[in-house]
């Protein structure tokens, strides 16, 4: 009798565990995708002799079945002085609908299936006595990593999305700054 009761309890427990597992599997999680192929070309924001600002946009989509959170987002710019010492490039990222005047990224909820636009804003500072436009026009391809700290139903994870700012688009941004300066 006691043995049968134990077997019954074990059976109920296993059944409950199975139901819970299936429920969790069916529930899914937030899945964040950054479509690097849809990145816009660098476009000029504003420019002066000492500083040139440009931006690019990237779509971020939660392709999962659960709401998720982008807890933090920031940029790493892999421009080594060994590669090119004519420029210091800095960058920050915000949601296009939530631009900030500081370097802070405000944590954001992204509903299942929702798409948001990330705006990556760069500032170029010339080195070696050149103007910002001249320094950017001569810049090589620059590798950039967008780093997202993501959270869904699982543990926090970091997503790193790498792309290249091509020399041609940087030159085009610099030329549009020149055109703007020349009226």
């Amino acid at each position: 009798m006691l043995f049968e009761l134990l077997v019954l309890c074990l059976g109920v427990f296993c059944f409950a565990a199975l139901v819970l597992t299936l429920y969790i599997l069916r529930q899914g999680d937030a899945v964040f995708a950054v479509d690097l192929n849809s990145r816009t070309q660098a476009r000029l924001e504003n420019a002066s002799e000492a500083r040139l600002a440009f931006s690019v946009s990237l779509p971020l989509t939660n392709t999962g079945r659960q709401e998720g959170t982008i807890l933090d987002a920031y940029l790493r710019i892999y421009l080594a002085q060994e590669q090119y010492d004519g420029l210091i490039l800095r960058g920050k990222v915000n949601l296009a609908t939530q631009l900030r005047a500081d370097d802070y990224f405000e944590a954001n909820l992204v509903a299942a299936g929702a798409q948001k636009e990330l705006l990556l804003r760069f500032e170029a500072f010339p080195r070696g006595g050149r103007s910002a436009q001249a320094a950017l026009a001569a810049a090589p391809d620059i590798a950039v990593a967008l780093i997202l700290e993501c959270r869904g139903r699982k543990a926090l994870y970091t997503k790193k999305c790498c792309f290249t700012l091509r020399a041609q688009e940087l030159e085009a941004a610099a030329q549009s700054a020149n055109l703007e300066a020349n009226g």
Binding site: I24, L71, D72, Y104, E106, A107, R151, R153, A155
Partner: protein, 218 residues
């Protein structure tokens, strides 16, 4: 409720962003004291009091266990305890046994169409924990517990200043107003009704303290 709100003048007191390095009485003394009269009640936003008590933690300060990872799945993803981190925050204060019993009782009650049972059984923190994005920057990346001993904190505030009383309130723009603790002589339900229009603000207003002028118990 709105009628009661109109009977009172409420002054929202701006302050800088408060952190765990601030002490709430010192903040009140610095920013609210010049506006405070003997018949007034000082109200403090619960999340800001909790932050000054050191009750805001980053996700990476929690170590979610298997129970937190499973239990969080049972709540809608919009809820404050739907992540392993916020669920672990609840488990740390309420305990696994209590939360498990509350989950089972809540599920059974739901079958019979009764809602809210989990939140009544799992402890105050189940409804007070604010998950990430629930608080303004720089605490948007933190999980913020409810304040510790809100009635005691209110009593200490009231005793520190020559005013009528103090209250710790949880109010939002969705017309939800709850008073978590008051000093002696202050009616919690009445203060909740007076604060129904959320004079604290939930955005960038930075007014975590407000003063109800010339308070008189109902």
């Amino acid at each position: 409720m709105t009628e009661l709100r109109r009977q009172y003048e409420i002054i929202a007191v701006p302050t800088p962003i408060l952190t765990e390095h601030d002490e709430i009485c010192a903040v009140i003394e610095k920013y609210a004291l010049p506006l405070l009269g003997a018949a007034d009640v000082i109200c403090v936003a619960e999340s800001v009091l909790a932050i000054t008590q050191g009750r805001a933690k980053r996700c990476d300060e929690f170590q979610p266990g298997l129970a937190a990872r499973i239990l969080c799945r049972l709540f809608p993803s919009k809820g404050s305890i739907s992540s392993p981190y916020s669920m672990q925050a609840l488990l740390d204060v309420s305990g696994l046994a209590r939360v498990s019993v509350a989950v089972i009782a809540g599920a059974i009650a739901k079958i019979f169409g009764i809602s809210g049972v989990f939140y009544r059984l799992a402890g105050d923190e189940a409804r007070l924990i604010d998950d990430v994005t629930g608080t303004m920057p720089p605490y948007d990346k933190h999980i913020v517990y409810g304040p510790a001993e809100p009635a005691k904190a209110a009593q200490e505030i009231a005793q520190s200043f020559s005013c009528c009383g103090a209250a710790v309130a949880d109010v939002n723009d969705l017309k939800r107003s709850e008073v978590l603790g008051t000093s002696r002589g202050v009616d919690a339900a009445q203060v909740a009704a007076i604060l129904i229009d959320n004079p604290f603000g939930n955005g960038s207003e930075k007014t975590p303290i407000c003063i109800i002028k010339n308070y008189h118990p109902a």
